[in-house]
Amino acid sequence: MKSNRREFLKLAGGGSALALLVGSGWIPTRAWAADDVLHALAPGDNRKEFEAHTIDELVKALGGTQAQLSKDIDFTAPDIAENGAVVPVEVQSNLPNTKLIAIACATNPNALTAAFHIPDGTEPYVSLRMKLAQTAKVTALVQTDQGFFYAERLVKVTLGGCGG
């Protein structure tokens, strides 16, 4: 009799804990298709450069072959970002005939964050705030008439920027 009561209490307690977990959203109630590669773009957004997951793929999607490391790109990003949702980045290209400045991070769900087309007369400079999913190397990619060049910086993120 005593042991039955104990069993019952155990079951009841366990059950309510489970209900609490489901209710609070800790246990997903909907099953998701297991995708190795996350497609994080809106429906109808088929821009191929945004589907790249590495810097190499990104350079190819933008029409290049390979990017070279360059010291002529001033890339400013914080060493430590407390909040991955707001990471200020600044790119100044000192390369002649800069046509495009792209900001990317290979460990984000989509490598490319933003690409800026720079017409003649506009300074090859851009400053923007981006999201980082985790501690990562952030890449500033610059296209000139000589090809693609990049600079990168490691940003340590203490709180991820997507999916709070």
């Binding site: 933003a114 007369g121 506009t122």
Partner: protein
């Protein structure tokens, strides 16, 4: 309708610096599951293209993805502008919304 973009443009020598603060949720639609893995939970909603023009001359276009921060803050610099010129900032987002705002170079 989203709030207007705040635009501040100043002349510094022969360079005009334009700072823009857009009002946009920039939702990735992602959540983390119990295992800490990223999952797409809702439809992403983000700005896809941004165009900045000075007196009708395009000074920059941007192709953006979901990783731009909420309420995007963008700074750019261009030559050939003067005080009183009209700066136009237009964005189009993944939900088909668009917004155009204007300001004069101060």
């Amino acid at each position: 309708m989203p709030d207007p973009t705040k635009i501040r443009a100043t002349v510094n020598g022969d360079v005009v610096e334009v700072k823009m603060l857009m009002s946009h949720p920039e939702a990735t639609g992602l959540t983390t599951d119990a295992a800490g893995k990223l999952k797409l939970a809702t439809t992403p909603h983000y700005i896809k293209t941004v165009t900045v023009a000075c007196n009708g001359r395009t000074v920059m276009t941007g192709d953006w993805g979901p990783a731009v921060s909420k309420n995007p803050f963008l700074t750019l610099r261009f030559k050939g502008g003067k005080s009183g010129d009209k700066i136009t900032v237009t964005w189009n987002d993944s939900a088909g919304e668009t917004r155009t705002d204007e300001a004069a170079v101060g």
